[in-house]
Symmetry: C2
């Protein structure tokens, strides 16, 4: 608790939040493998069989016994009897003996009795029953042997893995056609305020467009959640309470922006326990952010300024969404975007006791990456299109110097 | 042209491809703003009006004329007549004069005649008609003035911008409810081979699962395209030709994997001009990749090994998909994934004349990031779950030394 202001540091708010939500994860659902890309695996996946399932040729050529090629060269060829051709998907019914060969293509099962494959270009077909072998090949050459990729029972991918395209390929190869994944966290988004109008409505004196619910929906979507925009509600305790109740019913998390903060806090405290447990953050911008818990579901009371909403989302809500589909101990405060190092191009002052976040534009130069703070724009939405990321100034730091190396949290 | 092998370097293949496809972009569609996240903007977006549209208060407090606070301090207060309260969304119908104040909340329109706002905490409400001002405020303090974010006609975002969550917020603020974006490129995916079975089918001798079409679909999806899996076709010229024709009809790009390469090349050359114009790549893995053009649509003939397919996708198909929604000159060969520098932990040999790609595992150490090549696994699909990215060894390089700094193309 920051005694001066009655607010928590963002890191402390995160710890309180985590304490309340330990082990809370989203339900598990089963998806067809083509739908599972980008979801988080909710099961350990083991090889159901050996991969490959059979020895097979990696090249077009002839399967033979390696001993039939020992000592062989262009000037001292060997001649083998060509028995058959094994097409891909077919199998050789007999057993290959010394002095014989079978034609194969890349992917063909290796005929029983053969232990190697010689490439087409290292042979000559003399007549339909005879090949000339012009090179020595070792046992196993140009052959993928059974189980070389996976042995039956091997762990392929662990619970908690966010599935990449390549993972889908591997799982298909091992016979997975459905996967258990964590459902996307559902996030109810509530806008409050008589002044708010939808985007298609013309601007008027005193009215502003409902930016935050669109911004939050997009951020939730980008972070792998399922946004549920409930709409714009008037700033009355009754209407607000009904909206939050609806949100709690359909979602895992409720985000509220706009309206009078005291109304929203009252509504949350009336609806369940423990109610609001973070009453503000030692954070600029974003200080009026409050966090409550109603019967195990989190409710965020967000500031009105879009830039403040964005900072609160990045620091707390993005990692919270991740925690719904991962083991809790793996989630770190402020996590969720890649970070890079850059050199600050000017000094930045900050108020002691407050953690400050400043958006920056990045420039690639021969001397490395330079971060240009977008100054005087912390309250301006017009900083968004210009920025490539943001930097944090810790609460105990009064000033970052020009030329200092800073960590930039970068946008995609 | 690499005269030794009759194949092209990947970079030359890319140049040939770009030459054929100059100015080819996807059609433009109009989407509701909430659907447009992640799409590429196909129009320049200008501010349709000033933002904010009116001067407004950034804090809860009282609007006044700054001159009424000049020289004022805690020990020397001034007293103003409280005229009215302007709620958010409402407006003050009269004009504020010297000696008077109007109560406002953050977001309220600034009353006409006022030029500044004093925070609640810097005042006392003495009775319902009188406030005590305890601090001096300058003109414009705590006020967001009309057009501070954007002036009507300002360029907000340019054609070619991939839309982020924050961009959606900015566009909503300026009244955009629909956006013109480039359609996602449609990609037909064809698997050929009598040996291929779908993932749910049990492994059998000689049969393998259709990994490539699932891998390619997932890669296309991840790269922002729309995959259309046409299914598994037998390796006959007639069936194959029909499948490619179907792909050309519904998609912007056709990807074919498996089957006999000569069949596929014949089918493409029969279907249109110029037919196959890249007959192989000086690339390991991925050398059998061929590229054709049938009446302005590109067809890729991909190798059979999933790792080879992956490398060809990353080097050529991912940037090609990007080029469909961007101005051609902006797209660079091999582009599309973030890159980082890492230190190689062992030496790597390579064949001169061939560009080689090796998957690596990354390790964060106190001395920086170390890249561990996943050796002997270039033909093994089991390298995929272990790898964090890959590195390229240029054609003219025989050996990378242990400790050398390499550029790693990293997976998400």
């Amino acid at each position: 608790m920051n005694l001066l202001y009655g607010v928590d540091s963002p890191a402390l708010a995160w710890l309180k939040l985590r304490e309340h939500l330990i082990n809370r994860v989203c339900p598990i659902e089963e998806l067809g493998i083509m739908q599972a890309l980008g979801y988080v695996l909710a099961e350990d996946c083991f090889a159901k069989e050996d991969l490959p399932y059979f020895d097979c040729s990696l090249v077009d050529g002839y399967a033979l016994k390696a001993t039939d090629s020992f000592g062989v060269s262009k000037s001292s060829s060997n001649y083998l009897k060509l028995l058959d051709r094994v097409e891909i998907g077919a199998k050789f019914d007999s057993v290959l003996l010394l002095g014989t060969a079978v034609a194969v293509t890349a992917g063909s099962a290796l005929p029983r009795g053969a232990d190697t494959v010689i490439r087409l270009e290292d042979t000559n077909l003399l007549d339909e029953n005879t090949i000339q072998v012009n090179r020595s090949v070792s046992p196993g050459e140009n052959v993928l042997t059974v189980g070389e990729d996976y042995r039956k029972g091997d762990l392929i991918l662990s619970k908690g893995r966010k599935l990449r395209a390549q993972d889908i390929g591997v799982l298909v190869a091992l016979g997975y056609s459905e996967l258990k994944v964590f459902s996307k966290p559902k996030v109810a988004i509530i806008s409050i305020g008589d002044e708010l109008v939808p985007p298609q409505k013309k601007a008027e004196m005193g009215r502003i467009r409902d930016v935050n619910s669109y911004l939050l929906s997009s951020l939730v979507h980008e972070a792998g959640g399922l946004p549920l925009r409930l709409g714009i509600f008037p700033d009355s305790l009754e209407k607000l309470t009904a909206a939050i109740e609806q949100g709690l019913k359909i979602a895992d998390l409720v985000l509220i922006s706009g309206g009078r903060r005291d109304h929203t806090v009252t509504a949350i405290n009336k609806l369940g326990n423990p109610g609001v447990f973070v009453h503000g953050l030692a954070l600029k911008p974003g200080k009026s952010t409050a966090i409550g818990l109603i019967n195990d579901k989190t409710v965020f009371v967000l500031p009105g300024q879009p830039v403040s909403v964005f900072v609160a989302f990045e620091l707390l809500i993005r990692p919270l969404l991740q925690s719904f589909t991962t083991l809790p101990q793996e989630i770190v405060f402020g996590q969720g975007r890649p970070r890079i190092k850059a050199r600050l191009n000017c000094h930045l002052s900050s108020t002691t006791g407050w953690e400050e976040y400043v958006q920056v534009r990045l420039e690639n130069t021969l001397e490395g990456i330079i971060a240009h703070p977008i100054l005087d724009r912390s309250r301006h939405i017009s900083a968004f299109p210009l920025a490539d990321g943001f930097i944090g100034i810790p609460a105990n730091t009064e000033r970052l110097e020009a030329g200092e190396i800073v960590e930039v949290i970068v946008y995609p």
